[in-house]
Amino acid sequence: MAELSRTLPAEDRLVLLPKNPGLFFFFWQFSSGRAAAFLSGAFSPEIELRLVCPDGGGPSQPVRADWQTGRGYVPVPEQCKTCQAALYALRGGSWEKLLESNQASAPLAAGMAEDRAYASLEFHKKVLS
């Protein structure tokens, strides 16, 4: 998996972006203070990402990952198209909310994907190569 070659100053950040009707992409970064808390063992190494629906949609399955993973994909909950993510970590056996994301809206599924796979520079890749 490709990674950035250089490290930029880290700040606490959780961002949720739409990918397609079924998936959100999310990534997080921790400030040096937060990272130190993970490294010291104050937080357990596993984080949990939960999606919440401001409009009251159905609950989603939390996604767990190592705190250093930095990014992942989460299914769009049914009945919930506009979501906000929150990132939790375990401290002393209790989940503690560390970060909240922006709100993001997932697109509705239109089907017909194959029929549309011709636009833009897609042509270069699909036809001429």
């Binding site: 998996m1 490709a2 990674e3 950035l4 070659s5 250089r6 930029l8 100053p9 700040e11 950040r13 961002v15 949720l16 972006l17 739409p18 990918k19 397609n20 009707p21 992409f25 990534f27 970064q29 930095g70 990014r71 922006n102 993001a104 809206s105 997932a106 697109p107 509705l108 239109a110 017909m112 994907a113 029929d115 549309r116 796979a117 011709y118 636009a119 833009s120 520079l121 897609e122 042509f123 270069h124 890749k125 699909k126 036809v127 001429l128 190569s129």
Partner: protein, 535 residues
């Protein structure tokens, strides 16, 4: 003959900002040189020819701000001139080499004409291709629109400040370049989400374009489908792309550019030619690479490159005429079918990347010219119309709230957010968040000239980091190392400059070098990123 429907061609011309003034042979600058010779010059020439014949093209052309900046960059113009001269020199040699090979000679002469026309047009306009475009717009022949400042996929910018900055800089850049306010906005990658409506309207745009299925995804019924314009609740005009007319041009199974008579893109003399013969025309590293001289035709789907037959320009032009006629016949059937069903005259909106015409589909500019000319010459019951003309003359459009969509593969954001490129977003957001935070901090402060320059350059670097091109190049695996390096450079440059301003330790020499290299948007004011903009 009265019109049975309207056609709207939208050509979106965009290249990422590539400018390496310290390097005389930077590979990626060839993207620009190839596009100028193979796409922009042929399309401008075709538009001028049509206008000269009294045939108003009536197309909309989107010029991205980064492309506009490159078209006006004198250092790039000088390099472009050298590029053209180099190809003309090689083609003179090729004339001798092909002297006893009539089949090859035809195509060599065709390329000679192509490069000579490019040289002539560049000379005619003193190297500035914005001038003829501006003149065509001024004469009412075409309508020029813009797109986001650095072609950012706007739904992937979560911060409102970042979206506003992309739009505000684009609007200002357009006004500087074309001496008027822009009416239309091309959403990069046709990527739409409803929150953009208000930003677009607040930035002064009257209309934009969405992908076909955005209409089907709208909450309200849209009985006219993609065949009429719409408006959002805040009065922004919307045109939906017609899938059928795009599919005929670009379908991988039956699209016109795959015709066996058309020029083969991948077999290039840079790979075929004797090494010592082509060596002076390759880069400084001497690695074989495309020279833009492609002497073969597609020949057959899936045929091996080595088995390709020589290109025959006359046979290809015959297919252009046939394809233009077929395209128009299909549009007339579309209009007839729609009229029969709805009792109204439809609008067919056909949107394409401009670079597909000429660069990828060599015969594309001739196809466009033929389509436009045939409507007039053959007195076909269709008319070309620009977006502003249509909105100014049509009935009040139905209100619609289209669905989130793009014209990329699968119709959403997969090409720009996937496991080949998702690692870039922390860097993009690190630069963007820092830029917003710093703009808020310094927006009302008195600044030294150097600090202001550093903040403005940081804003340029931030905008450049947000370009959709880096993610797309990583996705298709083309120039991936360059894309990754560019993105990282811009993000790191922005963060570094912002840190230097905060610490009052601006490295003036490094700043000057960045200002020379990444010199887009000369009037950019960093405050455009502030949360409450002064603009």
């Amino acid at each position: 003959m009265s019109s049975r429907g309207s056609l709207m061609f939208v050509l979106h011309a965009h290249l990422p900002y590539v400018n390496h003034p310290q390097d005389s042979g930077f590979l990626e600058e060839n993207w620009f040189f190839e596009a100028v010779v193979e796409t922009y010059v042929p399309i401008i020439s075709a538009l001028e020819r049509l206008a000269g014949e009294g045939i108003r093209p009536g197309v909309a052309v989107s010029i991205s701000p980064t492309l506009g900046a490159m078209l006006e960059n004198e250092a790039l113009e000088a390099k472009l001139q050298l590029y053209i001269e180099s190809r003309l020199e090689l083609l003179e040699l090729e004339l001798s080499r092909a002297h006893n090979d009539p089949a090859l000679l035809r195509t060599v002469k065709l390329y000679l004409k192509l490069y000579e026309e490019a040289a002539e047009l560049m000379h005619k306009y003193s190297g500035d291709l914005i001038t003829p475009l501006k003149a065509l717009q001024h004469a009412g022949q075409i309508e020029i629109i813009t797109t986001s400042a650095t072609h950012a996929v706007l739904p992937l910018l979560a911060r409102p400040e970042a979206v506003r900055a992309q739009l505000a800089v684009a609007a200002e850049d357009y006004a500087d370049r074309f001496n008027r306010k822009p009416a239309g906005f091309w959403l990069p990658e046709c990527a739409y989400e409803p929150r953009l409506n208000s930003y677009l309207k607040l930035s002064g745009f009257n209309y934009t374009f969405t992908e076909s299925h955005s209409v089907g995804l709208a909450a309200a019924a849209a009985p006219n489908g993609v065949y009429s314009p719409y408006r959002t609740s805040n009065g922004l005009g919307l045109f939906a792309r017609d899938a059928a007319s795009s599919r005929e041009v670009w379908s991988s199974s039956f699209g016109y550019p795959g015709d066996p008579a058309y020029r083969e893109f991948y077999r290039d003399f840079g790979y075929d030619g004797d090494y010592e013969y082509v060596r002076p025309y390759l880069g400084a590293d001497g690695i074989r690479r495309p020279l833009g001289l492609k002497y073969h035709r597609i020949t057959g789907a899936g045929s091996d490159l080595a088995a390709k037959q020589y290109y025959d320009p006359e046979a290809a032009m015959a297919r252009v005429e046939a394809h233009a006629s077929d395209f128009l016949a299909r549009r007339m059937k579309q209009t007839d079918d729609f009229y029969a069903a709805r009792g109204a005259r439809p609008l067919i909106v056909s949107c394409y990347d401009a670079e597909l015409f000429g660069h990828w589909w060599f015969e594309g500019p001739a196809f466009l010219e033929s389509v436009i000319r045939k409507i007039r010459v053959e007195r076909l019951p269709l008319q070309f119309v620009t977006p502003s003309e249509y909105l100014n003359s049509c009935q009040e459009p139905q209100e619609l709230s289209p669905g989130i969509s793009s014209w990329g593969e699968n119709g959403y954001f997969d090409p720009w957010v996937n496991e080949t490129n998702d690692f870039i977003y922390p860097a993009v957001y690190a630069a963007t968040d820092k830029m917003i935070e710093t703009a808020n901090r310094f927006r009302n402060q008195d600044l030294s000239a150097v600090a202001a320059r550093a903040l403005n350059q940081a804003a340029r670097e931030t905008l450049l980091s947000q370009s959709s091109d880096w993610a797309f190049l990583l996705y298709i695996g083309s120039h991936a190392a360059y894309a990754k390096g560019r993105l990282e450079d811009h993000a790191a440059n922005a963060v570094k400059l912002l840190g230097e301003v905060a610490e009052k330790k601006v490295d003036e020499a490094a700043l000057a070098a960045l200002e020379q290299k990444n010199s887009v948007f000369p009037r950019l004011d960093f405050r455009v990123f502030a949360s409450v903009s002064k603009f």
